[in-house]
């Protein structure tokens, strides 16, 4: 005989405001099997939980239903409550009367009726619940970090510091990411390379960190604590173990017309290259699209000049398979393509550049050795116009609806640096809003205006018009003056919106980690679990989760590492007991379930059965590996004989729910 307790939560006024909680408790109290029914302002509070515990003990409850917020919120809480009172934690069901009832309906009568139906449904289900016990699975004490920018570097260093092995996968030939391309950092103006490169060296020297540069993740299998990942090491055509990074090959290579991607194509390099002086690993790479030897077999200069004999034109991509307990995504960002913004003449004039291109133009290791010159004629620019929000906060097809967050600050930085180094250059910044939340951020922006005399104009540029004399005529609105203004500029700098790296979407599919509509990874909880993906064992570091500046990225990267360490520190993980199981007496060994299982959790065994006539017979039956099964239930539907069922979501339970709703 079931003895079910029902607990209706007011959630302050969140539920009680639109649902008559007393009426719900009263109606549900009359349901068959229910022996106790109560309501309380906050069921999740200590007092509320005590109410549940006392009722379980006092009435000897065999199952409880909590009518409250979404199970995604507090199912775990109430399971613990039940367990503390001696009830199996899987004898708990939640009726979601907040997110799926009180918050979406305004009419009290309608919402109350619905809440009763939802409660009734949960009661029908819990009456068929069975006690479940979680099994244990081991944790592989090794982490994978995907992306070698500042986020990935920081996460890898922190995990390694705690004593765990870390593999750092980077798709480019060197780690460093976007920060390596940046000249100075706000709000302190220290040099990005000076603070980044020591960390890169730390990564290379740390025994616990293994860097897979020029590599990509190919395939991911498994689950939290025990992932199996295939990493593709792309052919560099240079043996990493032999190359000393001397750079002679890059000097002697005759193919000098290769676009220098590290400088965003603003200058050229040789076909065999080391992206920048402080690259880690400092190993040459051959660009197969430009190398004459690889393209048509004519050249071989690099091979002749390499004293270490590291050049290997026959090198192939290599697949490495490795086990991990946790995976960190740190895939970062890129500025958007500006093809949809031809009104700013970006494709037409070389003197219209993005902010990241300006970083390279101003960088001492950049194409002009740190002197700011116009790309078109290499002259010194006297008037520079900055345009903010190019593609950010833009709901059209070519833009991004979100604020890219970093542009206001880096533009203030650029403006300030230019005014500092070239006081004869006038700098105009068109802004919609200046957004500077952050420590010392607004002070920084104000310094640009008050100390450096940067002209901030509230308004937007409508069009940039290249002139026959090479100038750029900028037409924009000055909303505070209520004027349309024309500025004859030498250069225009566009603060292009940032977007998640294109590799993130296929990676998310491999990891079965969810993403939002902008291709940023979603966090397990937007406030309380910001560095974890909803998929167990997947963690998020840096801009792949949302726009961030460097201090925020580093903070999140360390937070992410802490979560990974917390996981790796465990020897065993309790696994989800809501897994499939097969009734051997019904199973006919058809293999339908095995074919649909995405995890390979089902195998077939030959088993001896006693027949009614007292003989024995060997039959082939399905057997589920509970540690590998993730509980999707695909097999339960595929099974033609009805042998396969899913604990926690059994056929009978779901049927009972359907019945209760349709009653």
């Amino acid at each position: 005989m079931q003895k079910i307790g029902v607990f209706v939560c007011h959630c302050g006024t969140n539920i009680a405001g639109t649902v008559d909680v007393k009426a719900v408790a009263e109606a549900l109290g009359k349901e068959p099997g229910v022996v106790f029914s109560a309501e309380y302002p906050y069921m999740c509070s200590e007092a509320g939980q005590n109410l549940i515990k006392n009722a379980i003990k006092e009435y000897g409850l065999t199952g409880i239903v909590v009518c409250s917020c979404s199970p995604r919120m507090h199912e775990a809480t109430f399971r613990k409550t039940a367990a503390a009172a001696g009830l199996n934690s899987y004898m708990v069901e939640i009726a979601n009367i907040r997110e799926q009832c009180s918050w979406i309906h305004k009419d009290i009568k309608v919402a109350t009726e619905k809440a009763i139906v939802l409660g009734r449904t949960a009661i029908a289900k819990v009456a068929l619940n069975a006690p479940l016990t979680a099994s244990e699975s081991p944790v592989v004490k090794r982490a994978l970090v995907i992306g070698g920018g500042i986020a990935g570097i920081q996460t890898a260093l922190d995990i390694a510091d705690a004593g765990y092995e870390v593999d750092l996968v980077e798709k480019e030939p060197t780690i460093g990411g976007k920060m390596a391309q940046i000249d100075k950092t706000f709000p302190t103006l220290d040099c990005a390379a000076c603070i980044l490169t020591p960390k890169m060296v730390d990564c290379a020297q740390n025994e616990k960190i293994h860097i897979y540069a020029y590599s990509e993740v190919e395939k991911v299998k498994g689950f939290v604590g025990n992932f199996t990942v295939s990493i593709k090491k792309k052919a560099r055509f240079v043996d990493e173990t032999k190359c000393t990074g001397c750079g002679v090959c890059t000097e002697k290579c005759p193919q000098k017309k290769t676009p220098n991607l590290f400088n965003l194509g603003l200058d050229t390099r040789s076909a065999i290259y080391i992206p920048f002086a402080q690259a880690i690993p400092k190993v040459a790479t051959i660009d197969a699209d430009y190398c004459n030897m690889l393209k048509n077999g004519k050249c071989g200069v690099c091979s002749k000049v390499c004293a270490a004999g590291a050049i290997d034109y026959k090198q192939q991509d290599q697949i490495i398979e490795q086990q991990y307990g946790a995976i960190v995504v740190a895939t970062g960002f890129n500025p958007i393509k500006l093809d949809g913004y031809d009104e700013f003449a970006y494709n037409e004039s070389p003197d219209v550049v993005t902010s990241l291109e300006l970083e390279r133009l101003m960088n001492a290791a950049g194409p002009n050795g740190g002197t700011l010159l116009r790309p078109s004629d290499k002259t010194h620019p006297h008037t520079i116009v900055f345009v903010q929000c190019v593609g950010s906060r833009d709901t059209t097809d070519c833009g991004k609806p979100y604020c890219s967050k970093i542009c206001c600050m880096y533009t203030a930085k650029h403006a300030m640096l230019i005014r500092d180094k070239y006081p004869d250059t006038e700098v105009y910044v068109f802004y919609i809003d200046v957004r500077t939340p952050g420590k010392n951020f607004d002070e920084f922006y104000r310094r640009a205006v008050e100390e450096y005399g940067v002209h901030y104009i509230k308004g937007m540029v409508g069009k940039v018009m290249p002139q026959p004399d090479g100038k750029l005529l900028v037409r924009g609105a000055d909303l505070l003056m209520n004027e349309q203004i024309l500025i004859n500029a030498d250069m225009v700098v566009l603060a292009a919106a940032i977007e998640p790296d294109k590799s993130a979407r296929p990676l998310a599919t491999m990891l079965t980690a969810s993403m939002d509509t902008n291709d940023f990874f979603t966090e397990a909880h937007p406030k309380l679990r910001p560095v974890e993906s909803p998929t167990a064992g997947i963690f998020l570091s840096g801009v792949c989760q949302g726009p961030k500046d460097i201090p925020e990225t580093v903070a999140q990267a360390s937070a992410c590492a802490a979560k990974v360490i917390g996981l790796l520190a465990k020897d065993k993980l309790l696994s989800n007991p809501c897994v499939a199981h097969s009734d051997e007496n019904l199973c006919n060994g058809c293999s339908s379930c095995e074919k649909v299982c995405p995890y390979g959790a089902i195998t077939y065994v030959d088993k001896e059965f006693r027949m009614p006539d007292r003989t024995t017979k060997i039959r082939r039956v399905a057997s589920v590996n509970a540690a590998v099964c993730q509980g999707c239930g695909a097999c339960t539907v595929a099974c033609p004989s009805g042998a396969m069922d899913l604990s926690g979501f059994s056929n009978k339970q779901i049927m009972a729910e359907v019945d209760a709703i349709c009653r």
């Binding site: 913004y341 003449a345 494709n347 037409e348 940039v464 002139q467 026959p468 005529l473």
Partner: protein, 258 residues
């Protein structure tokens, strides 16, 4: 290949050369332009208001007639093209508009107007092909530096017109290359000439139009070509120092049918 053809009123009066050269060139290219019977004036400008129905009916009739002929509808004047194409877009996307027009006309408007509206330039690009056109040129205009003037009507609203990239179009430049001349790229090529405001405020239109031809001339163009009679009128009114002619005139010249 046969198309229904909507010339529009100005092409019958002040812009006869735009029409005449277009017909002769089409013939030379093996395309038949069958003028719609009893077409009515498009109204010159599209009224964006959702509660304006009557002003859109002449375009609906043109579309319906073309559909009956079973042809795509070719337009030449930028204004006619803009008005008819926007009307078609409104019928396709605005249920209320479609409902009202259908009731008034006693037809299922969306269905009855389901025909492609193609500008003459689009026809050259997509049906003839600029490569093919190049082969048919008998009198290439080598050495001529020509500025394409798009104005606003062909390009905008970009989502509706689907003509070319509204901020950096290239169809007329490609056309110029096909007839052997050199295109001149200048930033004002997609800015407005002042349009009908010339009746309201002649100075304003003159200012707008001057900015256009001055920009083209500044980049070294020796003439400007357009598809719009009003653009041409305004530029000439603004005392353009370089000739402003219809693109069909150059086409006819290049094909040797001028």
């Amino acid at each position: 290949m046969t198309f229904s053809y909507y010339p529009g009123c100005t092409l019958k009066t002040k812009a006869k050369e735009l029409d005449g050269y277009a017909r002769r060139s089409a013939q030379a290219l093996g395309i038949t332009l069958a003028e719609l019977p009893e077409w009515q004036c498009c109204g010159g400008v599209y009224t964006t208001a959702k509660d304006e129905i009557a002003t859109k009916l002449s375009s609906v009739r043109a579309l319906e007639a073309a559909k009956k002929e079973g042809n795509a509808l070719v337009t030449l004047c930028s204004a006619c093209h803009n008005v008819i194409k926007q009307t078609k877009y409104a019928l396709d996307t605005d249920d209320d508009m479609n409902f009202k027009v259908s009731n008034y006309m006693g037809i299922d408007a969306r269905e009855a107007c389901d025909t492609n509206v193609v500008h003459y330039l689009e026809m050259l690009r997509d049906v003839v092909g600029f490569d093919e056109l190049k082969k048919k040129v008998v009198n290439p205009l080598t050495g001529r530096k020509i500025a394409a003037y798009y104005g606003c009507l062909l390009l905008r609203p970009g989502k509706t017109m689907q003509f070319d990239n509204p901020e950096n179009p290239k169809i007329i430049e490609d056309f110029i290359r096909a007839i052997g001349a050199t295109p001149v790229i200048y930033p004002m090529r997609n800015e407005c000439c002042g349009a009908y405001v010339t009746l309201e405020d002649g100075e304003q239109a003159k200012k707008n139009s001057s900015a256009v031809w001055e920009s083209a001339a500044g980049f070294g163009a020796d003439c400007i070509i357009t598809a719009c009679p009003l653009c041409r009128y305004n530029l000439i009114k603004a005392e353009s120092e370089i000739p402003v002619i219809y693109f069909t005139e150059l086409l006819a010249e290049a094909l040797g049918v001028k």
